[in-house]
């Protein structure tokens, strides 16, 4: 991502943020119309959590096919960003829920699925921490990601029918009644955040590559000729 795109992204996100407060009208019909603006930040964060989860699964699959260490780093970077956006989505969601329903947690299907994604990411990182050898770590975590992915898709699909029985009337916000201005701001912010996502993803990879290079250098410096070579006949 070149510098111009980075600067444009910054301006874009800042612009949308300002618009969300100055251009966007308060959302009448909510308990606290001013606070409801948070929706335009919250929903894109939640959407990106799912995007990251998908990206992680795709790179995990690619890793198992290619066994390319960089692909594993990509899967890991996606998971880290997914975790970050999951936290952002949960925090913004809880703030809004506090204002709207008076409690930060409602076991709404959407809330629950985000938290489950956080659990999957947490498990993914714990697993990575529990395997020392790199290729094995990459292999096992990719396999786990690909097991967790269908399970999560399933969970997101079945949650409404299971949880509905506990919360018969649960309306986060009715889509039909959403002001078009809200829709525009929300998707604009999503686009900006997506660019930020790509940017962070690339930064994370560069750090990873630099680390690997340093490690190799360190190895060469400390043990110059310790690598065994096979003589063959």
């Amino acid at each position: 991502m070149n510098r111009t795109v980075q600067i444009l992204t910054g301006i874009w996100v800042a612009g949308v943020t300002v618009a969300a407060f100055l251009w966007l009208p308060p959302a009448e019909g909510f308990r606290s119309p001013e606070a409801a603006r948070i929706v335009v930040f919250h929903v894109p964060c939640a959407m990106l959590t799912f995007v990251a989860f998908l990206v992680n699964a795709v790179y995990s699959w690619k890793y198992l096919r290619s066994r390319d260490p960089l692909t594993d780093s990509k899967a890991n970077a996606a998971a880290e960003l997914g975790m970050l956006f999951a936290i952002l989505a949960t925090v913004t969601g809880s703030l809004f829920a506090m204002e709207q329903w008076g409690s930060a947690w409602n076991w709404d299907p959407r809330e629950t699925s985000i938290v489950m994604l956080m659990l999957v990411y947490a498990a993914y990182f714990v697993l990575r921490g529990a395997v020392e050898e790199k290729s094995k770590r990459a292999r096992l975590s990719a396999a786990y990601a690909l097991l967790a992915f269908p399970a999560m898709v399933f969970l997101i699909w079945i949650l409404p029918r299971i949880v509905e029985s506990l919360h018969p009337t649960n309306t986060l916000f009715s889509r039909s009644g959403l002001d078009p201005k809200y829709r525009i701001t929300l998707w604009s912010f999503f686009a900006g955040l997506l660019a930020v996502f790509v940017w962070m993803f690339r930064l994370r990879l560069r750090v990873e590559i630099a680390e690997a290079r340093l490690r190799r250098q360190h190895r060469r410096d400390t043990m110059p000729e310790a690598t065994p070579a096979g003589e063959t006949r």
Binding site: V131, K136, A143, L146, L147
Partner: protein, 228 residues
């Protein structure tokens, strides 16, 4: 030799061998059953008298007990192979699909044994209503099989990592959650609803669907977990 029949052959051999080993050592069975019985008894004490406890809570508690008991034992079947260094001989003799199928069958039977002991004890000690016994049997059977399907491949992952005990619980929970939620819902129906069959029918379909998704996914990734 026919390819498809040969992995079934291998699976049967692995399954028979694992049960022979299990009956001789009783590692997994001991862990699972002891855990289940102690937690059922502990729940009985904690909730006494159990008549005031809503059936929703009882249904959830039953499956929480079963899930955590399963966590105590379902990874054993892979961990043992790695710990006793028998995995390589198995890798050379049997295809990865054969190994997976055999171990999955082992875990399913382990789950059925666990449930056959836990559920009656639970019904007895916690005075759980038994409105629809035949439905409950089907729900328990399908639910325990689904849990085995969800966690067998995770067990294989755990066997290759360090801190296996804690890891298995952490890793299997997200994968096991969908069948767990559905089976709790269905158990509640078997206990409470007048039209239990109609309520639970959808749940049973979802459970079967889950198995139809997670088992092929497991087979696909298992090869990468199992071979070095």
């Amino acid at each position: 030799m026919n390819r498809s029949s040969s992995w079934a052959h291998e699976a049967i051999a692995v399954f028979a061998k694992d049960w022979l080993l299990e009956l001789r050592t009783r590692v997994a069975l001991g862990a699972v059953v002891l855990f289940a019985v102690t937690s059922v008894v502990a729940s009985g004490f904690a909730l006494a008298p159990p008549s005031g406890v809503p059936a929703e809570v009882k249904a959830a508690l039953l499956w929480v007990v079963i899930f955590f008991a399963a966590v105590a034992g379902l990874s054993r079947v892979f961990v043992v192979e790695e710990e006793t260094r028998t995995a390589d001989a198995l890798r050379l003799a049997v295809s990865s699909t054969g190994v997976f199928a055999g171990k999955l069958a082992f875990n399913a039977v382990l789950m059925w044994t666990l449930c056959a002991i836990t559920v009656p004890l639970y019904l007895l000690l916690l005075e759980a209503p038994l409105r629809n016994a035949s439905l409950l049997v089907i729900v328990v059977l399908l639910g325990s099989t689904a849990l085995a399907c969800a966690t067998t491949a995770v067990g294989a992952i755990v066997a290759k990592a360090t801190m296996r005990g804690a890891l298995f619980g952490v890793l299997s929970f997200p994968v096991a959650l969908p069948p767990l939620l559905v089976v709790i819902h269905a158990t509640k129906a078997a206990w409470l609803s007048d039209n239990a069959w109609r309520v639970a029918a959808g749940d049973l379909q979802v459970l079967s669907g889950f198995m139809l998704v997670i088992v092929p996914a497991s087979v696909l990734v298992f090869e990468h977990i199992w071979s070095e």
